[in-house]
């Protein structure tokens, strides 16, 4: 065996990739490049999180990635057809939309408004126009020192979106960010970066959609930073419509000011390994946070949802409901942290994680963690994991329903509790269809 034939490991590949990235940027590195360099250095030093990292105990990304992802490959950047461009497009949804395939912004497919109240741009363009939003907010919330995946994303941040909702504005249509992986010919990797700023007393909905077209492996490592100023409301959706060969890691980092409301909706229907980090900082009084999640897994899918709500100031509220249906040999992880700081008196915080296991081989690890330093608070959490209710099945069969329809009716009913929280009708209808097809 000669030394020359030994392939680079993932870290070497990414180190070389970063050099190429810098060459490619050439003269237009932009104001954020020092941050990128610091972030990539941090990543290259620490590598992908392993199961030794308490936060990644059940999801060893190092192991998963090293077996499957070749970071030396250059993803196909131009040869896509309608199947990629149309994937995940929601019927009847009137929206502003940015479309990306393999990380590349698709101008033709995107529809960006020319409005006074909101500025929606792709990240590259925002960088080249020296956007104030980037200057003031980029990498201020999602700390690359705390998480290697955030570091990796920050190092390569160039594709994605920058959204600014101006003061006192309510945006009339949802804003869709659609990230499609074209994996028809070979695997692909990308690092979407989104920055969403809702200024004082504004209101908007942002829907991120992720999907794969083709049979190869995809790797997506996304970071979204969200800033919600006083009296503002932001709804944030993640529809993960990936294939069962997708590796997806993502961090949504949210900063809430007083009297703001944030609602998060995470729907996952497949994926080889999916890891979602959702961290909400309530940095003001009277904040309201809702977090909803639904994961329907089969095959060998592994889906890990880590959420944190940090109550820092008084009179705030958070409510979390995550539900999962796990078939075959799929695995679910739920880790929900609630912090109530000493100052955060009169906090109400609720959390619930419920799972149905359809086989003896499906597993869930559910771990709530409440740390409460204030004394005048109301907090509760509960997690249940069980099989489908046999009593209910029999009751339904005894009224003439086939076992299969009884089963899908029960599962659908289980999912409904999360589904019905979706207020945008076409999105709800779209998800209902996917879910009911899956449960039959």
């Amino acid at each position: 065996m000669s030394n020359a034939s030994k392939p680079d490991n993932q870290i070497d590949q990414l180190s070389k990739k970063f050099d190429q990235f810098e060459t490619m940027l050439n003269g237009s590195k932009g104001s954020i490049h020092e941050t990128r360099k610091a972030a990539i250095a941090h990543f290259l030093k620490n590598g992908f999180p392993t199961s030794k990292n308490e936060e990644y105990k059940y999801t060893d990304l190092d192991k998963a990635v090293s077996k499957t992802i070749d970071f030396s490959l250059e993803p196909n950047a131009s040869e896509f057809g309608a199947s990629e461009l149309e994937f995940g497009k929601i019927k009847d949804l009137d929206a502003y939309e940015l479309v990306f395939v393999n990380g590349q912004y698709q101008t033709e497919q995107s529809s960006v408004p020319n409005l006074d109240g909101v500025i929606i741009t792709d990240f590259k363009e925002a960088l080249s126009s020296d956007s104030d939003v980037i200057k003031n907010h980029y990498s201020k919330y999602a700390s690359f020192e705390k998480d290697e995946l955030v570091a990796l994303n920050t190092g390569f941040s160039i594709n994605g979106s920058v959204i600014r909702i101006k003061k006192n504005q309510t945006i009339d249509k949802p804003i869709v960010l659609r990230y499609i992986n074209s994996v028809v010919n070979d695997q692909t990797q990308n690092h979407p970066r989104n920055l969403i700023v809702a200024e004082e007393s504004s209101s908007a909905s942002v829907i991120e959609i992720y999907g794969d077209v083709g049979d190869h492996v995809s790797f997506t490592n996304e970071v979204t930073e969200i800033v919600i100023a006083e009296n503002s409301q932001l709804d944030h959706y993640k529809l993960q419509l990936n294939s069962n060969k997708a590796f997806y890691t993502g961090t949504t980092q949210v900063m809430q000011a007083s009297s703001s409301r944030f609602r998060s909706y995470t729907f996952t229907v497949a994926g080889s390994i999916i890891r979602n980090n959702l961290n909400v900082d309530q940095d003001g009084e009277g904040c309201e946070t809702h977090m909803y999640g639904l994961y329907l897994l089969n095959g060998n899918s592994h889906v890990d949802n880590h959420t944190t709500v940090d109550h820092k100031k008084p009179n705030s509220y958070s409510n979390e409901l995550y539900k999962g249906i796990l078939d075959d040999k799929s695995k679910g992880v739920f880790n929900g942290k609630i912090y109530v700081r000493p100052e955060a008196q009169k906090t109400n915080a609720f959390q619930s994680n419920k799972n149905i296991l359809l086989t003896v081989n499906a597993i869930v690890n559910s771990k709530p963690l409440l740390e409460i330093w204030a004394d005048d608070v109301k907090c509760s959490h509960g997690c249940t994991t069980g099989q489908l209710d046999e009593e209910a099945l029999f009751y339904m069969q005894a009224r003439g329903l086939s076992k299969d329809s009884a089963r899908s009716l029960l599962l659908y009913a289980f999912a409904t509790e999360v589904l019905e929280t979706v207020e945008i009708e076409p999105v709800k209808a779209y998800l209902e269809k996917i879910i009911s097809d899956r449960l039959h």
């Binding site: 209710d389 009593e391 209910a392 029999f394 009751y395 339904m396 069969q397 005894a398 009224r399 003439g400 329903l401 086939s402 076992k403 329809s405 009716l409 029960l410 659908y412 009913a413 289980f414 409904t416 509790e417």
Partner: protein, 253 residues
């Protein structure tokens, strides 16, 4: 219509039914009474097809078919209806939605046309009147948070919808106030036809004043130890079960 012969059943190796014999003909009403734990609900469950129970001996024949061989749903479709003593709560499924799915599967099995949304609603309204049940109740999650009486009324509503041949009402009267009892009994009576039969499981004579039985049976230790006419129910109401237990224990001893 129904012929039960020497039926034995057990659960988790505990023998509960010890040789039940019962014949029910079309048009008849049979009442089954008996002390707590004697096996009344077990008998009802075995007839409806609950898989937790193992039939260890005996047969049950329904309209010439081997009932025990049929799946629970096929029994329901063939015309067996069990009104549960403890109706199950099913969050997220409304009674209306549930009944729509159930009724159409039942109708398909019976070779009847399935109902579209409009005809279903018309049909449902008609049955609602029969048991005086409110539509708002039926739009809610099935039995979830229903009062005891509402649950029982919902059972009879479902029975009306599915138009069974053989109805088994397991303590449908318990938890009902006097007015509700009359309404439910009235509903059952209106649904009675020459070609269908009813088995009522009850502890109280008062229900049998409204739904008048042709036969009354006493179940004790998993056996029918005494059968008679409606006067037997009155006698039990007056004297309790001790005399029957003594008689039965004397013959088995």
């Amino acid at each position: 219509m129904l012929k039960i012969n020497n039926l034995h059943a057990s659960i988790e190796d505990k023998q509960i039914l010890n040789g039940i014999n019962l014949k029910v003909k079309p048009g008849e009403v049979h009442a089954i009474m008996g002390p707590n734990g004697s096996g009344k609900s077990t008998l009802a469950s075995v007839l409806a097809g609950r898989e937790d129970y193992e039939v260890t001996e005996g047969q049950a024949d329904f309209q010439g078919e081997d009932l025990l061989e049929m799946s629970p749903e096929d029994r329901a479709r063939a015309g067996v209806f069990l009104a549960f003593q403890y109706p199950v709560e099913i969050p997220g499924v409304s009674t209306i939605n549930f009944m729509k799915t159930a009724l159409n599967q039942v109708r398909e099995f019976r070779g009847q046309e399935t109902l579209d949304a409009v005809s279903f609603l018309t049909f449902m309204k008609e049955k609602m009147k029969l048991v005086e049940i409110d539509q708002s109740l039926l739009s809610r999650s099935l039995n979830e948070g229903f009062s005891g009486g509402e649950k029982k009324r919902n059972e009879i509503f479902q029975m009306a919808m599915l138009e069974p041949k053989l109805s088994i009402l397991d303590e449908t009267d318990s938890g009902l106030d006097i007015d509700a009892l009359k309404i439910v009994a009235n509903g059952v009576n209106k649904l009675k036809k020459k070609d269908n039969a009813t088995i009522v499981v009850t502890h109280y004579q008062r229900l049998l004043d409204y739904i008048v039985p042709d036969y009354v049976h006493v179940l004790y230790n998993g056996r029918i130890v005494k059968s008679g006419t409606k006067e037997l129910a009155q006698e039990l109401e007056a004297k309790g079960y001790d005399w029957i237990k003594e008689e039965a224990d004397a013959t088995t001893a």
